[in-house]
Structures are given as structure tokens and as C-alpha cells.
């Protein structure tokens, strides 16, 4: 059953922590490199670069290490994380830290010590024999512990354990102890050149051989002392015989090299792998993991690209590590060298970007609902660094387009809009705004629709929205509909219908909602405003004109119109009737349906009454003026 791997593992709490912390390290690294490249320090730049990369890689390793300390022993991620830690550390040693002539001993020994930690075993020995330490040397794990300690280069631990062996029983203990004590240590002798250290080592090893051949190993139960001595002499067959203790060919190899040739470098390592017997010893038990370790030792970077991805079932490791290698300029894949440029497609992405994209896509598929926006944003951070042909940005856009906007809350929609805007995806942001404003309109949340509309300044929808609001207002007379525009005055200048809505609101407030003391004054202002509105061509939508006239009708009695205004009103009515006749012959959709009052009769009456009042007022004014004149 070949299932496509589900990356839901990324939503697991431990993984979330690791992902978030790695993301921070990744972002910080790239941010620092960018700011560095902008300053003019040229000389120190290369040094800084590799230091920073090594730092970042170490931080990645520390993140996983910390996580292993936090999670419980039976956590299902434990094994995988330990394997990842092991591989990552080894890759750091071989691919980043090592140089063609540099010694690998200290780093590899440390790797052996931390990934095959004998401390628990040692502590167990001490705790089970805490009462009578004379019996300590009889513990069945005693000799294994000492041998492992010596094999791993933990000389102090070995000596400490050895001190519990009764000296009077086997006097050779003292000699062995002396040998261990005088063993030259590469880190404490770092002031010596390699040649000098080698000389010192050979001298010391001659003494070991002497002890092995001449000393009396009386009282040496199990032959433990002899084995120790043989290890110190770098006796190959002894190493091979301890196969069960080492458990893996690479541990055996490292251990052997640390005694046979402590100043070994990477080519020495390769030679011993090829010519040595260690791998053959484990021949029948080799598995994929061993193959990976072998490839790493052989400096084959391709292993990260292929096998490690399979091993961990995701691209977390490969994406980060290849990125580091790329930045330090050490990324040289065999596949690229062998095939040559003729075979390479022109627009194929560089390998490290491929892996970054893979990783991001895996993160995105793990966040299966829009509610895991933070995980998506993590993925976006990585995608942004894939700048070849803008692949990264395009993928971000594709993903954001698929977020179901109709199912999320307003605040989440605001976040998505903001992210799109932040990445410069203005078209996408605009379309998000359009979906949201339509959604609000359908749900009759006119206020929300207005906010979205004002954000994206969509003129045509703004007009539709204004019409809808006015229609509802004329039907329900609900003031809050008008009030929706009170805070938007300066922003809705892109849509003339919205401007009209706003002006109408001003008129309405002045005309009908003023306090008694200000009434007349405000009424005059209101009429002035409305008449001005009537005069602006096409400002008042045709369908509302009738209703506006009827509102005027109610105000005429208040004695606040002046002569000019009355004439202007007449003119507008004339224009309106012209238009009406025109539309009766050639209907234009959208303008034909007028908002009407309840029944035709009352409408007819209203028109009649309006004309009566208008003419009455004009006549009155006329007469008055004549008299005054």
C-alpha cells in the first residue's frame, strides 16, 4: 500500500516547536546576511558568512537536542529525532567543519560519545553497587563500560572505573592506569604541530606494546586488562572481536582510527573504509542507515538530497542543511558535476531551492485548514527565499487564493488580506476584498461591506452598495443605515453614489433631527443642500428622484424656500419628467425601476399636491416681491 505520506506530523506539538524555532534561526540568518551584504566590509565578509552559517547549523542541532530533553521517554517522535540528530551532527562534522587537511578526531569522538552515551550504564553500575564498592568490579557491565569508555576516548571515565579494581589482585592495573594517564591528547596538545604530536603518540604507543608483551597479566579476570592494552596498541583483531560491543562498523572504525592514526583526516578515513576490514565484518547486517553513514563519510552530498529525505519522510533536514551548504558555497552535487551543463535544463531550479519548496509545500499540506495560518506563514517565509523566477511568490499567491474566505471570521479575513498586501500581491488583495464585500452585502451587513469597499476602493460595487442602502432606508426609515457613512466621509470619494448617500445623510439630519432651537436655521441649510444636490447632473440616482421630490413636498410648507430655490426645483422636476419620457421609449435597465410609494393613487395625489404647493409658493413670493417693489 503506497500512501502519499501525510505531513500531519508537522502539527504535532514537538514538531511545531522545532519548526517554529528553526524558522526563527532561518530568518535571522538570512536577515543578518542581507544586512551584512549591504554594508561595505568586504574583507571580513567571507569569514563572517561561514561563521554565521556554522552558528546557525549548530543552533538547528541545539533545537533538536533541547526538544529531546523536553519530551518524555515514550514519545513517538523520540526515535526519529534521535536519528535526525545523529545524522545532522555527522553532516556538520564532515561537510561543514572538516577541511582537507584538518583532523577529525575530536569531533568524531564527540559524535560517538553523544550518540552512544554510556553515562546511564555507568550510573547504573554505581547506583546498584552503592553500598559495597568492593563488589563493583564484579558487576557484569563493569568491563563493558571500561572498554567502551576507552574506545570512545573517555579516558577519565575509564580510569575512574578502573580505580575500583582491587590493585592487590592484579598489579598490572597500576601500569595500565599509568598508560592511560600518559596518553597524549590532541586537544591538550594543540600547540604542537601534527608531526610533533605524531611523534609523541608513536613513542607512547611503543610503551603500550612493551607492556602488552612483557608485563605479567596475573589476576586479570576475563582478560579485561589485556583487551584494554590491545586496544591502546591499535590491534585490529581485538577491535574486530569486540563487534558486539561496538554494534556498528562506523563506531568501530572511529575507535580504531583514534588509536591507530589519531591525526587522521578525511582522506585517511576514506582509505580505511575502502581497505579496512570493518565494513566486511558487518556485511550481513548493513541496512539503509549504514549506507547513509557511509555516503556521508565519503563526502557524497547527494545523500542528503535523496536518501535522507526518504529516511525522515520529509524535507525538514534537507531543506535547512542544503541551504546552509549553499550559503557557504560548499554545495557541489555529484549529479551536477557528472552530467555537465549540456544536459541541464535551462530553467530548472537550483537544488537547494527545490528542497526549500518541497519543505514549504509539506508544511502547507499539513496545515489543512485556513485556521492554521501561522503554519502557512512559516512556509511562506521559506518560499520567499526561492527567488528564481519568482517561484516562491507565485506559490504563495496560489495558496492564498485557495483559502475559503466565506468560512472564516472577519478578523481572520483581515489577516489574510494583510498578508497578501504585505507580500505585494495587490491583485490578490483586491480580489479578497471583493469576495468579502460581497459576502457582507449578502448577509445584509452593510457596514462591513462598506469597510471592505473603502479598503479596496471598488467604485462599481460602491455604487451598488449605496443604492442598496438607500433603497432599504426608504423602505424602513431606519436611521442607522444612513449613519453608516458618518465616519467614511473623506474616504468614499471614489464612488459618486456613496457621496450622495453621505450628503443625503447630512440633509436628513439637518432637516429632521435638529433640536428645536436650531430648527429653522438647519432647515434652511438642509434645503440649500438638497437643491444643490438636485442640480448636480446625475448625482441623485434616477430611481430615488421621485422620493426626494416627495420629501421636498413635505418641507415646502415650512416657509424656508427662497425664490431661486423654488425655480431650481421646478427645473429639476422638468428634467426628471423628460428623462422619464425618454426611458419609457428606450428603457435602460437599472434606471427603469423606480422606488415607489405604496399605491399609485397616493402617488398621483402627491404629485398634484406638490405642484399645487410649488406654484402656490411661487405665486406668493411673486406677489410679495411686487408689493415690496
Amino acid at each position: 500500500m503506497d500512501e502519499t505520506p501525510s505531513f500531519k506530523i508537522f502539527t504535532d506539538p514537538s514538531w511545531r516547536r522545532i519548526i517554529s524555532q528553526s524558522r526563527e534561526v532561518f530568518n535571522d540568518l538570512h536577515q543578518n546576511l542581507e544586512t551584512n551584504s549591504q554594508t561595505e566590509i568586504i574583507k571580513t565578509e567571507t569569514v563572517n558568512l561561514s561563521d554565521q552559517c556554522l552558528d546557525a547549523n549548530q543552533k538547528y542541532i541545539d533545537i533538536i537536542d533541547n526538544e529531546l530533553h523536553i519530551i518524555s521517554a515514550d514519545n513517538e517522535n523520540r526515535e526519529k529525532l534521535q536519528v535526525m540528530l545523529q545524522v545532522w551532527k555527522l553532516c556538520q562534522i564532515i561537510f561543514i567543519k572538516s577541511s582537507p587537511s584538518g583532523t577529525l578526531l575530536t569531533d568524531l569522538q564527540e559524535w560517538y560519545q553523544t550518540t552512544n552515551n554510556i553515562d546511564p550504564m555507568v550510573q547504573a553500575i554505581f547506583s546498584s553497587n552503592s553500598e559495597n564498592t568492593e563488589k563493583l568490579h564484579l558487576d557484569d557491565k563493569y568491563w563493558i563500560c571500561i572498554l567502551l569508555a576507552v574506545a570512545q576516548g573517555r579516558i577519565d571515565t575509564g580510569r575512574h572505573l578502573l580505580s575500583f579494581y582491587p590493585i592487590d589482585k592484579a598489579p598490572v592495573v597500576r601500569t595500565i592506569n599509568e598508560l592511560l594517564h600518559t596518553m597524549p591528547n590532541l586537544s591538550t596538545h594543540s600547540h604542537l604541530s601534527l608531526f610533533e604530536f605524531k611523534a609523541k603518540w608513536e613513542y607512547w604507543q611503543k610503551k603500550c606494546v612493551q607492556v602488552l608483551t612483557s608485563e605479567n597479566f596475573e589476576g586479570d579476570d576475563n582478560g579485561g586488562m589485556q583487551t584494554i592494552c590491545k586496544l591502546l596498541c591499535a590491534d585490529e583483531s581485538t577491535f574486530l572481536s569486540l563487534k558486539l560491543m561496538f554494534n556498528n562498523w562506523y563506531y568501530m572504525l572511529i575507535s580504531y582510527m583514534s588509536y591507530a592514526n589519531p591525526t587522521f583526516n578525511i582522506s585517511d578515513l576514506h582509505m580505511s573504509i575502502e581497505s579496512g576490514p570493518f565494513m566486511k565484518e558487518f556485511e550481513n547486517e548493513l541496512d539503509e542507515f549504514d549506507a547513509i553513514i557511509l555516503k556521508i563519510f565519503e563526502f557524497d552530498v547527494d545523500v542528503i538530497v535523496n536518501e535522507c529525505v526518504k529516511l525522515f519522510s520529509n524535507n525538514f533536514f534537507s531543506a535547512h542543511f542544503l541551504n546552509i551548504l549553499h550559503l557557504t558555497g560548499k554545495l557541489q552535487l555529484k549529479s551536477e558535476i557528472d552530467f555537465g551543463s549540456a544536459f541541464r535544463e535551462e530553467n530548472r531550479l537550483p537544488i537547494q531551492e527545490q528542497h526549500l519548496i518541497e519543505y514549504s509545500l509539506q508544511l502547507l499540506s499539513a496545515a489543512w485548514s485556513p485556521s492554521l495560518l501561522s503554519l502557512n506563514q512559516t512556509a511562506f517565509d521559506y518560499l520567499l527565499k526561492c527567488q528564481m523566477d519568482e517561484t516562491g511568490i507565485e506559490l504563495i499567491e496560489t495558496y492564498l487564493e485557495r483559502i475559503p474566505l466565506t468560512e472564516i471570521s472577519q478578523s481572520e479575513a483581515n489577516k489574510v488580506f494583510y498578508i497578501a498586501f504585505q507580500y505585494g500581491l495587490h491583485d490578490l488583495a483586491f480580489s479578497i476584498g471583493r469576495v468579502m464585500q460581497m459576502r457582507a452585502l449578502k448577509g445584509r451587513q452593510y457596514g462591513d461591506a462598506l469597510t471592505w469597499n473603502a479598503k479596496i476602493k471598488d467604485c462599481s460595487f460602491g455604487n451598488i452598495l449605496a443604492d442598496k442602502i438607500m433603497e432599504e432606508f426608504f423602505q424602513s426609515n431606519d436611521l442607522k443605515l444612513l449613519d453608516l457613512t458618518e465616519s467614511l466621509v473623506k474616504e468614499i470619494i471614489y464612488s459618486d453614489r456613496l457621496i450622495f448617500l453621505n450628503k443625503y445623510r447630512e440633509f436628513y439630519r439637518l432637516a429632521y433631527l435638529s433640536s428645536k432651537s436650531e430648527r429653522t436655521e438647519n432647515l434652511k441649510q438642509a434645503i440649500d443642500l438638497l437643491v444643490h444636490l438636485l442640480q448636480v447632473p446625475n448625482l441623485i440616482p434616477f430611481k430615488f428622484k421621485k422620493l426626494v421630490f416627495f420629501q421636498l413636498h413635505d418641507l415646502i410648507d415650512q416657509n424656508v424656500f427662497n425664490e431661486d430655490q423654488l425655480f431650481n426645483v421646478l427645473k429639476s422636476i422638468q428634467l426628471y419628467e423628460n428623462r422619464r419620457r425618454f426611458l419609457a421609449i428606450r428603457p435602460i435597465s437599472g434606471e427603469v425601476h423606480e422606488c415607489s410609494l405604496e399605491d399609485e393613487n397616493s402617488e398621483e395625489n402627491k404629485w398634484k399636491s406638490l405642484f399645487e404647493k410649488l406654484s402656490g409658493k411661487i405665486a406668493e413670493n411673486f406677489v410679495q416681491n411686487k408689493i415690496e417693489f
Binding site: 516547536r17 524558522r23 530568518n27 472577519q410 494583510y418 469597510t451 458618518e486 465616519s487
Partner: protein, 334 residues
């Protein structure tokens, strides 16, 4: 002035928290307990305790409740052991925690179907709780009555309401997505009109958060999606005093200093935790307009959206969108 005495400490959680709140009777009473409400598709609230005697910040989780019906949109604590929270699925919960026994119990739950509760507040006596929703409704809960008493204001705003604050015993301020703050009288349920409507001309961006001055309840600070903070005095209709950054990142949370209304904190999408300080040169009664304002970013190493923060005595907790929980400590004002 505020000097950062101790280093900023941070730990990594394993979920994203949308709200962090200290559990205490008031912002002045020091407390070691705080709660975290989850974001996104996690639906949990958890209670934590920090050991103030330790040098390092190592809070311990005491209890957790994982059956909320949505992610957490607001938490407000009533006392050391009681708090309310609202969710994205239209519910308000009342919880009680027993710290010693490490238990967290849901005492009560009120729900409104198909809605998102954006914010709530309760008045000083703890008698009434008011919550506002995305569908534009303002709802009241009688906390002390025997029956689950939930009723709403007979008024449905046509835009989403984002937060609410009690100014006086019966007066609430409600902010909405059109950038307005409306003052309502909560006594009458048939209110058709608010007492007052405040807004900034030219700035109609949705108001995301509000806070009131600890000493003068009529001073409200609010932050909006354009990154502008406005300080209103609700007694007057004057144009508010505005504070802006030199960028327009939405403001996620805002809060006054626990002891004095001269200092304000705000958090935004680009991760900064800003402190705005109006220096007092010994003058008694002057508002923000009359003084110079200094500002400082206390979390400039953080580049991920700061979801929420809370102040208690001289400590600040903040959570960002990359699973981090920060703790900062400040010298007291006095």
C-alpha cells in the same frame, strides 16, 4: 522613565496562544498565575504558574481545558481564581480554577448561534457581562441570577462590533469595524440610539482593541487596523489625540499601565511591543495633548505578529505568532 532592569525572557510553547492574561483581581495586585487561550484550530485554555523567586522564567502548566467550541477571542479575569472567556463560535464561558488541586472547572456557558464573539467586559460589581459579536449584536448576561439570563439590546448594528468596555456602572463603549466608538446606556433594552458616537474623520479603519485609563474611566485608548492609536475623552466631542508609528501595521492589543494613565502599551502585527510615555513635568491636570510623548519598543528582536500581551504590577507577558511566550519586567513608576 521605564528602564528594562531584567532581560527579556522567552520560552516556546507547543501551540499558538491568541490571548494571555494574568489571573488577578486587578492589574495592580501582583499575581503569579496566568492563563493562555489558544489560537487557530486549537480549542483550549490553560492555567500556568510562574515562580517569581527563580531567576529564569520557567512557568509550569497547572491545568488545561480542551473542549472549547472555538478558538479564544478574549479572556478577562475576575479574581485570582475566576475568569471569563469568549470563543469564535459564539460562546462565553465562566471558569473557576483551583490552583492547589490543579483543576479547572467550567462553571457556566452562554452561547449565541452562528456568531463570533469578538469581545466582552463585565461591570465592577460583577453583576452584568456584556459581549459583542461579529453580526453586530450587543448582548447582556445577568451573572447573579439563577436562570441563564441572556438578552440583547434591541439593536442590530450593520457591521461587526469588535470590543466593549464598561465606563460606568451602566455605560458601555462599543467599537466597530467602521472606526466608530458608540456609548450606550445599558439599562434600557429597547435602546434604538446610542448616547454618543465618536470617530475620527478620515480614519475609518476597523478598531481592533480598546482599553480604559485605570484612574479616569472616561479616557479610552483604541487601536485600529491602520496602526493608529487614538485617545478619546468621552465627555467631549473633540477630535481624539492620535499616536502613530511610522508604519501602518494593525494593532493587536492595547493597554494602559496599571498604575497610571500616562503610559500606554500597544502591540502590533510586526512584533513590536511599544510603550508610549507622556512625560509629566509636575503638571497636575493635563491630557496627552499637552505633553511630549516618548516611545520605545521593548521587543525589537521579535519579528512575528504579537498576538496579545497583559500587564500585572510590574510584569508583562506577551505571546507572538511563532509559539513564543515572553516575559518582561519593569521598574515601577513610583
Amino acid at each position: 522613565m521605564f528602564d528594562n532592569l531584567n532581560k527579556t525572557e522567552k520560552i516556546y510553547l507547543n501551540f499558538n496562544a491568541s490571548k494571555v492574561r494574568w489571573l488577578s483581581e486587578s492589574k495592580i495586585t501582583p499575581s503569579d498565575y496566568f492563563c493562555l487561550g489558544s489560537a487557530e484550530n486549537f480549542k483550549s485554555v490553560s492555567i500556568w504558574k510562574q515562580n517569581s523567586t527563580l531567576d529564569d522564567f520557567e512557568p509550569v502548566i497547572l491545568s488545561e481545558y480542551q473542549n472549547l467550541d472555538g478558538y479564544v477571542t478574549e479572556i478577562k479575569s475576575k479574581s485570582l481564581e475566576e475568569f471569563f472567556l469568549s470563543t469564535s463560535n459564539g460562546s462565553v464561558y465562566h471558569f473557576k480554577c483551583y490552583h492547589d488541586e490543579q483543576r479547572l472547572i467550567e462553571l457556566n456557558k452562554w452561547s449565541k448561534a452562528n456568531d463570533v464573539v469578538n469581545g466582552f467586559d463585565f461591570n465592577n460589581d460583577g453583576e452584568e457581562l456584556c459581549f459583542v459579536t461579529e453580526n453586530g449584536t450587543i448582548n447582556f448576561i445577568r451573572l447573579r441570577s439563577q436562570i441563564n439570563n441572556l438578552n440583547d439590546l434591541d439593536y442590530n448594528e450593520l457591521c461587526s462590533l469588535n470590543s466593549v468596555l464598561y465606563l460606568k456602572h451602566f455605560e458601555i463603549a462599543v467599537s466597530d469595524s467602521l472606526g466608530r466608538i458608540k456609548i450606550w446606556d445599558s439599562r434600557s433594552r429597547e435602546n434604538k440610539k446610542s448616547c454618543l458616537s465618536l470617530f475620527m474623520e478620515g480614519e475609518s479603519s476597523s478598531i481592533t482593541c480598546m482599553a480604559n485609563d485605570p484612574n479616569k474611566k472616561h479616557i479610552i485608548a483604541c487601536g485600529n487596523l491602520n496602526g493608529i492609536i487614538a485617545i478619546y475623552d468621552v465627555r467631549s466631542n473633540k477630535r481624539p489625540f492620535t499616536l502613530t508609528h511610522n508604519h501602518s501595521e494593525p494593532i493587536t492589543e492595547i493597554g494602559f499601565h496599571p498604575f497610571s494613565g500616562d503610559s500606554l502599551f500597544s502591540s502590533s502585527f510586526n512584533g513590536g511591543l511599544w510603550s508610549w510615555n507622556s512625560s509629566n513635568r509636575g503638571e497636575l491636570k493635563s491630557g496627552w495633548e499637552d505633553r511630549t510623548v516618548n516611545f520605545k519598543n521593548y521587543l525589537d528582536s521579535n519579528r512575528y505578529t504579537l498576538n496579545s500581551f497583559d500587564l500585572n504590577n510590574d510584569k508583562i507577558l506577551a505571546v507572538n505568532n511563532n509559539l513564543c511566550l515572553y516575559k518582561l519586567k519593569y521598574q515601577n513608576l513610583f
